[in-house]
Amino acid sequence: MIISIAIAIFTLGILAALFGALLGYSSLRFKVKEDPIVEELDAILPQTQCGQCGYPGCKPYAQAIANGEDINKCPPGGEAVMRKLAERMGIEPQQLQGEKKPKLVAFIHEDLCIGCTKCVQACPVDAIVGSTRQMHTVIGDECTGCELCVAPCPTDCIEMLPIALNTQNWQWKLNVIPCKTDTER
C-alpha cells in the first residue's frame, strides 16, 4: 500500500520535473521577441498618427490594444477598423467613441504663414516642409489628415480641406453627377 503510493508520487514527481525542465527550456529557446499581434493590429489601424486614441501614434495604440485597451478609440478608422480589430482580438465589437469624419487634408494659407516651424515639428509624418522664417507648405499626398498641425499654428493659417474629387478617386457614383440635360430644342 505505502509502497504503491510512494511509487506513484515518485513517478509523478519525476514527470513533473521533466516537463518543468522542458517548458523552461522551450520558453528560453523559442522566446518571441515582440508580440506579433502588435504588428498585425498596427497594420489594421489607419496610420493617421493623429493621437485621437490618447496614444502617441498608431503603433503605441496597437500595443495598448494587445495589452487589453478598448478597441473603439480610433475615429479615423471608423466602424470598419473597429470590427477588424474585434475580429483579430476575438472580442465583441464596441460602440465607437467619436464619429468618423470624411478624410481631410491640411492646407496652409501661405500669405498668413510666418515661418515659425511649429507645424513642421507637430507633423507626425513629415508632410510639412519649410524652414525658419520661410513659408511652409503641406505635401498633400503625404498628409494623413490628423489635424495635429492646426492647434500649434500661432496665426491659425492651417485649414483642413476635404480631398478634391478627381477622375482617380471617383467612385462611379453616377447618381451624384449634377444633371444639365439639354431639352429645350
Binding site: K59, V125, E142, T167, W172, I177, T183
Partner: protein
C-alpha cells in the same frame, strides 16, 4: 513586361493561323447591329469650331506646357512636353490660346481637368511638317519617339499609348490589326477602311518595320463586306503576301483584345498577363492610320473619325472631328433633336457612357456620339432581384461568374471579388444585356473596381504614412542620443578643464572617494584604518599642494612687489629729473619760479604716494588671497578631522544599537515568561548579551541585527528546551511519586 515572355506562339501555331484555322471565345451575344444608319455616307469634315478645348491632364499628372495664355498657335503645334509615358498634345487648328483652366473632361464622372482653350481663327494654318525621307532607314527607337511625339494613343476606345505597344520588337510573333468594330452603331473604322485602304496598308508596313512580326493578320467582322473588299483591293495593289485578312463571324465582343487573340490564335492570354506574353501585339485600324500619318507624313494626331448616329440626330454619318471640338458644336451641326429623357452616349450602347451636357470636348478615344430616340433605347426597366438563371455566366466572354460577382459586389466583399477574378472583367456588358432581371451588372462591377482600387491606394498611402512615422521617430531618437552625447562630451570637457585648473587633481573624484570612504567607515577595523590612512595621505597631498600654491602666490606677489618697486624707482627718477629740470629752469629763469618748483615737487610727491599706495594695495590683495587659501585649507583640514571623528565614534549609532538590544532583551524575557513558570535566572544572560552587543556596537548594523537575532532565537530555543526538560522531569517525578504511593497503598492493603 520586363520579364521574358514564356508562352510565345510556336511556329506550328503560326502555320495553323496561316492555314485559316480560327478559334472561338466563350459566350458572346448578338445585339442588333444598327450600323447601316451611319456607314452609307463618306467621311466628311466637321469643320472648325469657334473654340477648342484640349485636355492635357492625365490621371492627375500635368506635363510641362509649351504655350501661355495669349500665344498664337498653329495646327499641329505641340502644346505640352513628353511626360513619362504620356503623349504630346497638339493644337488641332490655328488660333490663340484664350485660357488654360479646368474644363469638363469627356469622362463618365463629368469632372474637370486642366485644359488649354484655343480660340480658333478659322484659317486652319498648319505648321511645316519635316517628313522622314525614308522611314525604313530609320532606327526603331526614333520611330517610336516620333509616334509618341505625334500624340498617338489607341483609337479603339481604351486609349493606351501606342508607343508602349511598339516597344516589343524582339519578341513579336504576330501582329493583329483590330478592325473588328463589334459594338453596335459604330462604323468609324468601317468607313475608314473603305476610304483609306491604301493608307492603312502603308501604316501596317510601318508597323511591320518597327515590330518585325512573323505574321500580320487584319481581323474584320463579316458584317463589313465593303471594308474587307477595299482592304483586299489595296493589299492586292501593293502585292504583299505577308498580310492576311481574316473575316471573323459577327459576335459581340470579338473586338476585345484578349477575345480577338483567342479567335485568331486559339490561345487564351493568361490571367493578369499582357498579350505580349504570347508574342502578340494588337493595334486598332484607326491607330494604324494615325501612325501612317505620323511616320509617312509627319502629321501629329489632331483629328479623328467620329460616328454620329442615333435617331435624335437629323444627319448621321462619320465625320472627321478635330480633337477638342465641343460636342455641342457637333450636336448643333448634325441637328440634334432632343426628345423626352434624351440620352447622349459616348461610345457604343453597350460599353459607352452617358454625358449630361454638350460642353465637353471630343477626345482621342471618342469614337461615337450616340443619341438614340426613346424608341431605339427605351428606359431600362426597374432592376429585379437576381434569380440565378446563370444566363450571364453563359455569355461572359471572360468565363467569369457574373451572378457571384454581383453577390459579392453588393456585399462589398473585396477578397471574394478578387478570388472570382473581377479584374478580368472587360466590362463588355454582355451579362447585363442578357439579364432577365434587368440588373445593370456592369455598373456594380465598375463601382466595386473603383472601391478596390481606392482601397489599394489607401493601403499604399497607409503604408507610406507608417514608414514616414517610423522614420521620423527614428530620426528624433537619433537626434536625442546625439544631443545627450554632446552634453556628456561637454561635461567631460568641463571636468578636464576643472582638473587642469586645480593642478591635475580631480576634485570631484576625490570628493566621491571621500564620500565612499565615509560610507565604508563603520565597517571592519582594518578597512577603517585603511580608509583613514588613505584620507591622511590625501590630506598630506592636499596640504603639499596648498603649500606649493602658497609658495607660488608668494612668489607672484614678490614679483609684483619688485615690479612695483621698480615702478616706484622710475617714478622717483622722473620726479628727480623733473626737479632737476625745474631747478635748471629756475636757475635759467628767475627765482620767482619757486611756485612752479613747489608744484612739481608736489606732483612728484603725489605720484610717489600713489605708486606706494598701489603697491600696498597689491600686496594687501595678495595677502588676502593667501589668507583665503589658508582659511580654505584650515576648513578642509577641519572637515577631514570631523570625518575622522565620525569614523571613530558615532554616538548616535551606539544609541540605536543599545535600543535594539533592549528591545531584543524585552522580547526574550516575554517569551521566557510565557513558556516557563519556573523563573530561571535569565537576567544575567540578558545583561551579558547586552554587554556583548555593546562591545560589538561599532559593527555593521545589519550584520549586528542578524547576529543578535540568531543569538536571541538560539537563546529562546535553549530556554524552551530547558523548560520542556523540567516539565518532563516533574511529570516523571510525579509518576514515580504516584507509583510509590500506589505501591505503599498496596503494601498497606
Amino acid at each position: 513586361m520586363t520579364t521574358k515572355p514564356i508562352n510565345l506562339l510556336s511556329e506550328e501555331q503560326l502555320a495553323a493561323i496561316l492555314s485559316g484555322k480560327t478559334g472561338s471565345f466563350h459566350g458572346g451575344i448578338h445585339p442588333p447591329e444598327n450600323k447601316q444608319q451611319s456607314n452609307q455616307n463618306a467621311i466628311e469634315d466637321a469643320g472648325i469650331p469657334p473654340f477648342l478645348v484640349i485636355g492635357i491632364e492625365h490621371k492627375g499628372h500635368i506635363p510641362e506646357l509649351l504655350v501661355n495664355v495669349g500665344d498664337p498657335v498653329l495646327k499641329g503645334q505641340a502644346l505640352s512636353k513628353v511626360y513619362g509615358a504620356m503623349v504630346v498634345q497638339h493644337a488641332s487648328s490655328s488660333g490663340i490660346v484664350s485660357a488654360i483652366e479646368k474644363r469638363t473632361d469627356l469622362h463618365p464622372s463629368g469632372l474637370p481637368i486642366l485644359s488649354i482653350v484655343i480660340e480658333t481663327d478659322g484659317l486652319d494654318r498648319s505648321i511645316a511638317y519635316n517628313k522622314f525621307s525614308d522611314y525604313q532607314s530609320q532606327a526603331t527607337p526614333i520611330l517610336i519617339e516620333a509616334v509618341q511625339n505625334a500624340g498617338i494613343i489607341g483609337l479603339g476606345g481604351a486609349g493606351f499609348p501606342s508607343h508602349l505597344k511598339l516597344s516589343h520588337s524582339e519578341s513579336t510573333k504576330l501582329l493583329i490589326i483590330n478592325a473588328v468594330e463589334c459594338e453596335p452603331y459604330i462604323t468609324a473604322d468601317d468607313r475608314l477602311m473603305q476610304e483609306y485602304g491604301d493608307e492603312i496598308i502603308t501604316g501596317i508596313n510601318v508597323l511591320q518595320h518597327m515590330l518585325k512580326p512573323e505574321l500580320t493578320v487584319i481581323a474584320i467582322e463579316d458584317n463589313k463586306p465593303e471594308a474587307i473588299a477595299a482592304l483586299n483591293f489595296a493589299l492586292h495593289k501593293s502585292q504583299q503576301t505577308n498580310i492576311l485578312i481574316r473575316s471573323i463571324p459577327t459576335r459581340y465582343p470579338s473586338g476585345s483584345e484578349k477575345q480577338l487573340i483567342e479567335i485568331i490564335t486559339g490561345q487564351q492570354t493568361p490571367i493578369g498577363k499582357h498579350p505580349t506574353e504570347l508574342g502578340v501585339v494588337m493595334h486598332n485600324v484607326g491607330t494604324v492610320f494615325a501612325i501612317k500619318e505620323a511616320i509617312i507624313d509627319s502629321k501629329p494626331l489632331v483629328s479623328r473619325i467620329v460616328t454620329i448616329t442615333g435617331d435624335a440626330f437629323h444627319k448621321k454619318g462619320n465625320v472627321s472631328v478635330r480633337i477638342g471640338t465641343p460636342i455641342q458644336y457637333l450636336l448643333d451641326k448634325y441637328k440634334f433633336n432632343a426628345g423626352v429623357s434624351q440620352k447622349l452616349i459616348i461610345g457604343g450602347p453597350l460599353m459607352g457612357f452617358s454625358i449630361n451636357h454638350g460642353d465637353v470636348p471630343v477626345t482621342k478615344t471618342c469614337n461615337c456620339i450616340l443619341a438614340p430616340s426613346l424608341q431605339e433605347a427605351p428606359e431600362a426597366p426597374a432592376e429585379m432581384p437576381c434569380i440565378r438563371c446563370a444566363e450571364c455566366a453563359h455569355v461572359c466572354p471572360a468565363e467569369l461568374l457574373p451572378q457571384q460577382l454581383l453577390w459579392y459586389a453588393k456585399g462589398k466583399d473585396q477578397q471574394k471579388l478578387e478570388e472570382y477574378n473581377l479584374a478580368s472583367c472587360i466590362e463588355c456588358g454582355a451579362c447585363a444585356f442578357v439579364c432577365p432581371s434587368s440588373i445593370p451588372l456592369v455598373e456594380y462591377y465598375r463601382v466595386a473596381k473603383a472601391e478596390i482600387s481606392s482601397a489599394e491606394q489607401q493601403a499604399k498611402k497607409t503604408e507610406i504614412a507608417r514608414i514616414r512615422f517610423e522614420n521620423r521617430n527614428a530620426r528624433l531618437q537619433q537626434a536625442k542620443l546625439a544631443r545627450q552625447a554632446k552634453h556628456k562630451e561637454a561635461a567631460a570637457k568641463r571636468q578636464q578643464q576643472l582638473k587642469e585648473q586645480n593642478g591635475g587633481e580631480d576634485l570631484i573624484a576625490a570628493a566621491l572617494a571621500r564620500a565612499q570612504a565615509k560610507k565604508q567607515a563603520p565597517g571592519t577595523d582594518s578597512s577603517e584604518n585603511k580608509s583613514i590612512a588613505i584620507d591622511l595621505k590625501k590630506d598630506a597631498v592636499a596640504a603639499a599642494i596648498a603649500r606649493a600654491k602658497a609658495k607660488k602666490a608668494a612668489a607672484d606677489s614678490r614679483q609684483k612687489n619688485t615690479g612695483d618697486n621698480r615702478e616706484d624707482a622710475v617714478a622717483a627718477a622722473v620726479a628727480r629729473a623733473k626737479a632737476k629740470k625745474a631747478a635748471a629752469d629756475s636757475r635759467q629763469n628767475d627765482a620767482g619760479d619757486d611756485r612752479k618748483n613747489a608744484v612739481a615737487a608736489a606732483v612728484a610727491r603725489a605720484k610717489a604716494k600713489k605708486s606706494a599706495a598701489d603697491s600696498r594695495q597689491n600686496d594687501a590683495g595678495d595677502d588676502r588671497k593667501d589668507a583665503a587659501v589658508a582659511r580654505a585649507k584650515a576648513k578642509k583640514a577641519a572637515n577631514t578631522d570631523s570625518c575622522e571623528n565620525n569614523k571613530t565614534t558615532d554616538p548616535r549609532k551606539d544609541a540605536v544599537a543599545a535600543a535594539v538590544a533592549r528591545a531584543k532583551a524585552k522580547k526574550q524575557a516575554k517569551a521566557e515568561s510565557k513558556h516557563t513558570k519556573s523563573a530561571e535566572p535569565d537576567n544575567s544572560d540578558v545583561i551579558a548579551a547586552r554587554e556583548k552587543r555593546k562591545e560589538q556596537a561599532r559593527l555593521h548594523k545589519q550584520q549586528k541585527n542578524q547576529q543578535a537575532d540568531s543569538k536571541a532565537s538560539g537563546q529562546t530555543d535553549i530556554d524552551n528546551k530547558q523548560a520542556a526538560d523540567d516539565t518532563k522531569k516533574a511529570r516523571i517525578a510525579a509518576a514515580i511519586a504516584k507509583a510509590k504511593a500506589k505501591k505503599s497503598a498496596q503494601k498497606e492493603q
